[in-house]
Amino acid sequence: MANCAAGADVTRVWDLCVRVFHWLMVATVATALVTGLSGPRNVLNIHIAAGAAIGGLVAFRMLWGLMGSTYARFSSFPVHFTAINADLAGFVAGRRPRYRGHNPLGSLMVLALLAVIFLSVMTGVVTLGGVDKQGPLAFVTSYNVGKATQRLHQALAYGLLALIGGHLLGVAYESVHGQPDLIRAMLTGKKAASAADHPARPAKAKPLLAGLCVLILLVGAIRLIVTLSARPALSVPAGPLDPTYAQECGSCHMAYPPSLAPSPRWIAIMDGLPNHFGEDATLEPGLMSRIRAYLTMNAAEKWDTRAAHELQGSNPLDPLRLTATPFWIRMHQGIPESVFKSRAVGAKGACEKCHSDASTGRFDPQDIHIPERAFQ
């Protein structure tokens, strides 16, 4: 930790902690953006891991901004009105005041980046809790809250992309106009000093205190996350399927969890058993009414999973078929027909062939594994 403190060398600007933080942030944010915006759904664990790392990095940077070396401290950021005004005026005039650390516009960018990244992590946790029913907030977040937060999370991701673009443009501009060693400084920590540089009040880093704070925060956060994540998710079906239902309906197709269709749809399906999606599936009357009661009492309206919400939207052309629902079609876009027809999968309705948690009705993105043989 002693390396983190700025030495007596006047040309040293970014301490080791700032530099390591910066490049770790680059790596983790890039990972989170790529997996979030373009990756397949089953890379969610990588996205979550990147998000968790980013959360830790932001927390560390906050602390280091209070107890780091001179230019790491937020108090050294010239973000007061007169400095920003002077910087803007200099920008227009083509001659900006020189700062050894962050200049006013650069400081604003750093703070904006930190704020947007922090909000991205927070909204990500809420989205994970409400939409995927996972993580520390799953026990308390409804699907609708998760869904609304997800839109915010996405908007923040695009905002972050814009800010990163601005940051890179700013660095490029500075590198051309007056600070050619800007990028190298984030690797070596050293900048050429000039007598015209705006001075910053020297501050001594407190690496031990910061380290202690980080440790306490980390242990506390992990314990809290583990404890909260262990709580049962809000309104998610638990326990096995009714054995009679699983036995009777599961001989020809996967026994679909009742949460995958609203009760009027189940009633219509049970009323049409003599011609059940093209086959005779008649049951003796006693069994039939038992199964019907089980399905309607545990239908989608009762649950708060993503599937329970989204599969309620039906296709007027084929209103009873799960795989005809707009949501099902949207989620399976890009999967070739041949995969469904392959011997390894067999049919679109064979959810369990690719979703190992299908019988629970959760359909976690992490539990998607399309069998290799389905592509041959």
């Binding site: 005779d280 008649t282 011997r343 999968v345 067999g346």
Partner: protein
């Protein structure tokens, strides 16, 4: 040594008994269909594996459009695992490949009831059911 011999004896007896019951179950099912067949057709003499094979492999196209024949789901080889239209595996139909077959009358009747309607568009006669099982027992 003596206990060993006893144990072997018990195992052999148990296996014989198990085989006998399994055989008896399919046989009692055949007897049941034979009685039904005699009742509806006085000219009935015995079940035929050839007729059963014909029933299994014929493309009827008189039932539901998605299931023109038994082989649509069960494949043409009764010893192989089939697959339903919804992607679920169907255990082999041949008794040699699946000892659980034709041991429960209620179950057998349930599936003849559904699948004859699916494939033929009508109920199967007792003769057809007996022929079918005779064919499957010979596989």
């Amino acid at each position: 040594m003596k206990t060993d011999r006893h144990l072997i004896l018990i195992i052999v007896l148990a296996c014989t008994l198990a085989l006998a019951t399994a055989g008896e179950s399919a046989q009692s099912l055949l007897d049941f269909y034979a009685n039904e067949a005699k009742a509806s057709d006085p000219g009935f003499s015995r079940f035929s594996a050839e007729r059963g094979e014909h029933l299994f492999k014929t493309n009827f196209s008189t039932g539901k459009p998605d299931t023109p024949s038994c082989t649509t789901c069960h494949t043409t080889d009764p010893r192989k695992t089939g697959q339903t239209r919804a992607g679920k595996d169907i255990e082999p139909m041949a008794a040699s490949a699946n000892s659980k077959r034709y041991s429960e009358q209620a179950k057998t009747e349930k599936w003849f009831g559904r699948n004859c309607n699916n494939v033929l568009g009508r109920e199967c006669t007792a003769t057809e059911k007996g022929d079918f099982i005779t064919f499957m027992l010979a596989q």
